[in-house]
């Protein structure tokens, strides 16, 4: 059996590695020709860290991320509601997680040795891109995921349901807060603020400029009802 995975984001590459581990050949097609940092971070949930570790990527992940030690829920004014230690959770900084123009997170361009994931070059890639130009095929992520292969493969499913919430992300350079390993979620069901450190200054550079020692880059997300 040979499997084709459309989209070289974190989900597509993990699926390909899982298939490889099961002895199934997988080939990943990605339409974006260059991997470029978008300037965001991502917090990997315990399930994801567990699976990436099982795939042999635990050490690589540890080298580019900050382990989240504690998850804290707070009122929108900052008062703590609940805080507890977390297991298997990590935050990754943006330089290692380039993103496509449509916003889906991609993993590092350096692939693990010996894996069956191949870069998207050559005739097949050209065919895929040509299909994209004609609107016949797109990747699995992005703002309109159902305009792509899902629409072609499952035309009866209709458009995805939307919960009327919008998410903004940002990565400011900021002073450390709390123990530098705490993820803070503040607000309520209609308005929420999420913050977690993704990289420390003494081991990172942004646009070539060294950061103040001890500072970190929290990534910030806001969810609002529209």
């Amino acid at each position: 059996m040979r499997v084709i995975v459309i989209g070289g984001g974190i989900g597509g590459l993990t699926a390909a590695l899982s298939l490889h581990a099961a002895g199934i050949e997988a080939e990943v097609f990605e339409a974006v020709p260059d991997l470029k940092p978008l300037g965001v971070g991502i917090n990997l949930l315990p399930h994801a860290v567990r699976e990436l570790t099982e795939l042999g990527l635990g050490d690589a992940l540890a080298g580019i991320s900050i382990a989240t030690e504690k998850l804290m829920y707070a009122k929108r004014f900052g008062q703590e509601i609940w805080a507890s230690p977390v297991a298997w959770r990590r935050a990754i900084s943006s330089p290692s997680t380039p993103c496509t123009a449509s916003g889906s997170v991609r993993t590092s361009p350096s692939r693990p040795q010996g894996r069956a994931v191949r870069p998207t070059r050559g005739r097949r890639d050209c065919q895929l891109r040509r299909r994209q130009r004609h609107g016949r095929c797109r990747g699995r992520g992005g703002r309109h995921p159902f305009s792509g292969p899902q629409t072609q493969l499952f035309p009866c499913e209709g458009p995805p349901k939307w919960n009327n919430r919008v998410l903004w992300r940002g990565v400011p350079d900021a002073a450390p807060y709390l123990d530098e390993r705490t993820m803070v979620v503040a607000g309520h069901q209609d308005q929420k603020f999420v913050c977690y450190p993704i990289r420390r200054s003494h081991d990172a550079k942004l646009n070539g400029a060294p950061r103040r020692r001890g500072s970190c880059w929290p990534t910030v997300a806001m969810v609002q009802s529209r």
Binding site: T14, L17, S18, E51, E54, Y73, K75, I81, H188, K192
Partner: protein
Amino acid sequence: MQLAENRAPDGFDDVTAIISRAELEEIAASYKRMAGSDKETLNTRASLSVG
């Protein structure tokens, strides 16, 4: 978070004055159980990606 917003929309000095410690612990535990992210479940179940 929503419970705290409902019971004290203008904030609080001590969260246990509006939500008891037992209630907080039960909410946290049930969420982890439902999400499957409690430490015991996460560390003992089979991998989803590697058989």
